[in-house]
């Protein structure tokens, strides 16, 4: 059973990457969109370009993992292709984990491109690689699970895009990408603390300035928690939808 699930998860993720993710429009969207936002802020405040890198990485992860993830399940359900996966000897959690895998691998790939450019530009001397790797992986998992939850919660592709943007855009401005959370009014700080992007930005910031695992532990735990809760919710909603 476990072997069936692991195999199914792997090949579903691989199929999604080939069929949906690694297409030119998707790649350009995943990379250009975060760059465009950061560039706009950099032009306004060119003195702190380095300080924008954690936010740039977090945004790339958010959009890279969730943009396609948010529509792929609802799309496959509409055309009947999801039924093909449900008929396979693969459990529902493994099926959904395969979907997450596709989103995560794509998000990690585009983030790697952005990371390499950032490290060339600003240097890698102060980077804590372990914390960086954990922060990127857990952020990708949390954002991919967010995309999957959006995708199973709606019935139409356009609804998925609307809901995903409804969640992502406020998160982008409240998650500490452009303005540190601590400098926000208290009410907004409270909201920021329930957003996974906030923890992604803080964990990435800690990693890039050489902070230790202890410095980022709470952020990493929060990201793992978001990933687990959103994944469990997505499995539950999908189970209700397909019956």
């Amino acid at each position: 059973m476990l072997a069936d699930d692991l195999r199914g998860m792997f090949y579903i993720g691989l199929k999604d990457l080939r069929a949906y993710y690694f297409k030119p429009p998707n790649i350009s969207w995943g990379i250009l969109f975060p760059f465009a936002f950061i560039l706009a802020f950099a032009i306004r405040n060119p003195s702190d370009l380095r300080g924008l890198v954690p936010g740039l990485l977090a945004l790339t992860l958010l959009f890279g993992t969730s943009s396609m993830e948010a529509i792929v399940i609802v799309f496959e359900r509409r055309i009947g292709a999801l039924e093909r996966l449900l008929l396979a000897p693969v459990s529902l959690p493994a099926l959904l984990a395969g979907k997450l895998l596709g989103g995560m691998v794509f998000g990690l790939t585009v983030t790697l491109v952005v990371l390499v450019i950032a490290l060339i530009a600003f240097g890698a001397a102060s980077v804590n690689w372990l914390v960086l790797a954990l922060a990127i992986l857990l952020s990708a998992a949390a954002f991919s699970a967010l995309g999957a939850f959006v995708s199973v919660a709606v019935k139409e592709v356009f609804e998925a895009q609307t809901l995903a943007n409804f969640i992502r855009f406020p998160m982008m401005f409240l998650g500490g990408v452009f303005v540190p959370v601590d400098s926000m009014p208290f009410a907004l700080q409270v909201i920021a603390r329930v957003l996974p992007l906030t923890y992604a930005v803080e964990a990435l910031r800690a990693a890039l300035i050489g902070g230790g695992l202890a410095d980022a532990a709470l952020d990493l735990l929060a990201l793992a928690g978001f990933a687990a809760v959103l994944f469990a919710l997505a499995v539950r909603v999908l189970a209700q939808r397909v019956e």
Binding site: M1, D4, R7, G8, R18, G80, A81, L85, A88, P89
Partner: protein, 314 residues
């Protein structure tokens, strides 16, 4: 006798509307399907055919009753059952972006077909379904008939001993439907058990060893084609074709206790008209179906969007 499917009291109740009464989509159906048999499941729209398939393939949980598929308990062993069945849904649902070859390989990957066998098996299926020249074409670019054939091929990719076919030829042109029927007939020779739902009565008559007719969630008849016809043959049917002086032709079909009685009734309005033909008819599966469901084959096809046109030629 070994059964591929054994069903007892299988029931599915949906609560479609919170304030309304629950809908009994499938109502305590019981039947067995022998290994190697082509078993037809006939019925009008909404009769419960697809719901029955969805329960037997693990896509929907039965409300009551039990079933075993390939000797495995549906309630306990659904994952193992899934490994032993192939399913062709009503809509061809492969991946538009993947080629014909890659779609088959993906189907095999999901079912754990060893890597060394996948390529050979995919090429073999493409050849068998006359799709070798479309090997690298994306699924989206195939004709409707080719898509259907490839969907059947994908369902057979892991060599399941039991195949569920839900309306396999609906919407196909005559030649594509004929090719697909030949493939289904070929599966029987290989010993594959086939569970087939169809709106085409001629198709069911030609392909199936036994047929169950389901109406409003209940099986109202289950027998061989000849057995079903024998049940409907309690009366003789006579068909007469008459022409009036203006050569307007009318065909009348009349049932009677005997040939003489039926012929007398059929010929009653013949005064002043020429009798062009008079035939006694054996009942068709359509007669049986009409008798049991009250629906004509034309109505059933029209429900399905077939506008009364059958593709069952050939």
């Amino acid at each position: 006798m070994t059964y591929a499917i054994q069903v007892t009291g299988l029931t599915k109740v949906y609560q479609t509307d919170k304030s309304g009464p629950p809908l009994r989509a499938v109502d305590a159906v019981s039947f067995n399907v022998s290994e190697g048999e082509v078993f037809g499941f006939l019925g009008p729209n909404g009769a419960g055919k697809t719901t029955t398939i969805r329960m037997l393939t693990g896509l929907a949980r039965p409300t009551a009753g039990n079933a075993s598929v390939m000797g495995l308990d549906l309630a306990k062993d659904v994952t193992r059952i899934k490994k032993r069945i192939g399913v062709v849904p009503e809509v061809s649902n492969l991946y538009d972006e993947l080629s014909a070859f890659d779609n088959l390989v993906f189907a095999m990957q999901l079912y754990g077909v060893p890597r060394a066998e996948r390529k050979v098996r995919a090429e073999e299926l493409l050849a068998r379904f006359r799709l070798s020249d479309k090997r690298d074409a994306p699924f989206a670019k195939l004709s409707r008939g080719m898509k259907r054939a490839l969907t059947v091929a994908a369902a057979l990719a892991h060599r399941p001993p039991l195949l569920f076919l839900d309306e396999p030829t609906t919407g196909l042109d005559v030649m594509s439907a004929r090719n697909l029927r030949q493939m289904i007939a070929g599966l029987r020779k290989e010993g594959v058990t086939v569970f087939l739902t169809t709106h085409y009565l001629e198709e069911a008559e030609r392909l199936c060893d036994r047929i169950a007719i389901i109406v409003k969630g209940r099986i109202v008849a289950l027998d061989t084609v000849d057995g079903l016809k024998a049940d409907a043959q309690s009366k003789t049917v006579v068909e007469v074709t008459l022409a009036d002086v203006d050569n307007h032709v009318e065909t009348r079909r009349v049932e009677g206790e005997s040939v003489e009685a039926a012929a007398r009734t059929a010929l009653a309005p013949a005064e002043g008209r020429r009798v062009l033909a008079i035939n006694t008819l054996r009942p068709t599966l359509e007669d049986v179906f009409v008798k049991l469901t009250g629906l004509s084959a034309e109505v059933m096809l029209a429900e399905k969007g077939g506008k009364g046109q059958s593709n069952a030629g050939g």
